[in-house]
Amino acid sequence: MPKDNGIGASPKRREDIRFLTGTGNYTDDMNIRGQAHVYFLRSDVAHGTITKLDTTAAAAMDGVVQIFTGADFEAVGSIPCGWQITDLHGEPMQEPRHPVLAEGKVRHVGEPIAAIVAETLGQARDAAEAIELDIAELPAVVDMKAAAAAGATKVHDDLTSNLCYEWGFVEENRAAVDEAIKNAAHVTTLELVNNRLVANPMEPRVAIGDYARSDDQHTLYTTSQNPHVIRLLMGAFVLGIPEHKLRVVAPDVGGGFGTKIFHYQEEAFCTFAAKACNRPVKWTSSRSEAFISDAQGRDHVTKVELALDADNNFTALRCDTYANMGAYLSTFASSVPTWLHGTLLAGNYKTPLIYTNVKAMFTNTVPVDAYRGAGRPEATFQVERVIDKAARELGVDPVALRRQNYVTEFPYATPVAVEYDTGDYNATMDKLEEIGDFSGFEARRKASEAKGKWRGLGINSYIEACGIAPSNLVGQLGARAGLYDAATVRVNATGSISVMVGAHSHGQGHETSFPQVVAEMIGIPEDQIDIVHGDTSKIPFGMGTYGSRSLAVCGSAMVRATEKIIAKATKIAAHLMEASDADVELKDGVFSVAGTDKSVAWGDVTLSAYVPHNFPLEDIEPGLEETAFYDPANFTYPAGAYACEVEVDPETGKVTIEKFSAADDFGNVINPMIVSGQVHGGIAQGVGQALLENCSYDENGQLLSASYMDYAMPRADDLPFYSVDHSCQTPCTHNPLGVKGCGEAGAIGSPPSVVNAVIDALASGGKNVGHIDMPLTPDKVWAAINNA
């Protein structure tokens, strides 16, 4: 029987009521009395020198409050990067200044040049058109290899080149890897592109700055996944506002997918301008602005080589990657192609020797940073594509080749610095073969052939690393922040509970799933427990939600704080029952003394904590509120196996997804309904990357895919129903809930299976194609068919 409450149940989401009735509170739904509106004048060229910027006429227009340019921000700090990479020579990465508003030069289409604050948005827009702006255009560098060439135009004059860093990992293994490749019985080589994407949460970004002269208090309302991170970065590094004078609020947020982690110029601008103009200042991004100002994702160009011995055992893997940083370093940009990518190159396999070389390049494009999966999809894609290509070259079954090379004993220390605590990759592949009905595939293929379609089956495994930690390790790797999280459990006098968490929910359903854990531990109904998040004035210092970390890290902090609550409540109960602490147990919300009929209810104990008339005041303090910070001992390692079946129309090259199956091991699962939903959404984004989505620039750095007319978002009729399963569970060994994280799995695990399926379909039609770069649009597939 499925449970109907507590851990493992799927209660309906409580946050749904406000979202379904139009009563949510997204940032753009907020309007502060007296607010003015901001419009940003942005660069329409990718690279150039500002030769004229005259705001005189614009400033005189109706409704204009004030116009700001880069000159107003010269004394203000640079938008910071949160992770310093050390290159293979031991030198720090090159880190250019990232101004709030352009200073003399523009370096990508969309870079803000001036900000117009006016009574209405329409007036601000009208005034922007009256600004006299001349830009002397410079040659743009868009292609990463061109950016790396000798004599290439430099994106930043004050840097030595366009190379942010060259990273080698593990540099000491480089010679051994090259030797193993040279001596291998078989080497499969693949050059591939991991296409640039736009995250596209459906809610565009919004920032509202507010300032109270009465107590010198700044407030920023923003669409963020991590309000404390924004407060620290903006307060300490950009604007110089002490944290006790700066409150950051992220209310309901309409999706994030990584791109709302980062600290953006618009947040700093609105906070700054609210004080400068002495009134609230609001900016709402249009979708068109989002395409040229939200940090974009992926964009790797890679050569990968897999060496195998005569028995088809993997002996070495080498990956050489160019990674696009865009024009400036976004908050976590530098960590994505390095520590979030190189450490995952072992995949699910016991490949003994691995080396990766990453050249991170500046180009005249929008900054690139973490997008759902962040480095791990890029690692998984190349590993799983090169294995599939090897299987095809060697004429062996792709499932068998994977199984032969799986890691099967845990803990397992990879040659790329991480240690997998648990996993059972054969179990997820077994489950995949079952839910994907592999045995029925040949019949389905014949049925497709009868319709004139080619059918293919593509599979892959994946592993990811979630809940990045511990802080002392990531600090050694260059992180400029800790990666713990925090929770405060406040028990009220009558027994209800508010849990203040550092994690932020923007679709993940924490308001429903987190209470399931506390309810299970104490034995009270979930509706007695509320989650508070998204406001630095209410919650403890937590690092927010990204990297599938919320439950594994913040959930663990919540468990620790609840354990402290139970320990203290037990002491109070023991006092009330005149018993020894050791004899008191808590079950179903009632404390009782073992072996007696003495008992006291949860609510009586909590009331006693706040009305301490009969209370052991000499031993413990009144009240019942505890905070815990949790810094994990290791990452968690969700893993699984995915299968995609496609039909290809050989006449048009159009690919349709006929069946998609996912068998995941997330360790213990708190709310299966929510977990399945996370996997569904991840799969859709992965299929989107594989078949539809592409962020495309022309050679001048103009963004060609700058709206939903040009950037192909997955729609309902592009996708099937999915079969997802998370019954294979090897609990994480080092966090109290045994959970691993599920938010990114779908986006990491799905692109290779889609491409593998298309290659398989073409092979069934007699067209042996080594590779097609994503997205597999009809024109590319048609060309591959006709050129094979």
Partner: protein
């Protein structure tokens, strides 16, 4: 500036707008009906769908002045006055048809009209009908399932929660 008056969720509403004011802006900024969301500026995403004189329209693509005299229905008017969710709203909650909630009002308003026109749509018909509504969170699985369930069809056989 132009005077407009319309009936919104059964109540008389009026205001003074610029000629360029969109219906979505009028609803959000003048009437404080912020359940109607704006997710794009090219009439593609469908987060702003409302009903105007019984037709599902993208309110970001219609001027407020064009809705003068019209009957407008928004997400705020879908539940009963006592808060009881409509069949479509309830199905979205029952089947986890929403995550971040931003596209949800448009999805619900689109689904309500679909089911008026086609009370028992097939999976394919639902998917094609949702072509003008983009969701980035759910992968559509549970939205399609919820709409079919709201039509009274048995969705028990559809995989997963």
């Amino acid at each position: 500036m132009t005077q407009v008056s319309m009936t919104v969720n059964g109540k008389a509403a009026k205001g003074t707008v610029e000629g360029r004011t969109l219906l979505s802006s009028f609803l959000r900024d003048e009437l404080n009906l912020t359940g109607t969301h704006v997710g794009c500026d090219t009439s593609q995403c469908g987060a702003c769908v409302v009903h105007v004189n019984g037709v599902a329209v993208k309110s970001c693509t219609m001027l407020a002045a064009e809705a003068d005299g019209a009957e407008v229905a928004t997400i705020e008017g879908q539940a009963a006055p006592d808060g009881t969710l409509s069949a479509v709203q309830q199905a979205f909650q029952d089947h986890h048809g929403l995550q971040c909630g931003f596209c949800t009002p448009g999805m619900v308003m689109t689904a309500v009209k679909l089911l008026e026109e086609n009370p028992k749509p097939s999976e394919h018909e639902v998917r094609v009908h949702l072509e003008g509504n983009i969701c980035r969170c759910t992968g559509y699985h549970n939205i399609v399932k919820a709409i079919m369930a709201a039509s009274g069809q048995d969705v028990g056989a559809i995989a997963a929660e």
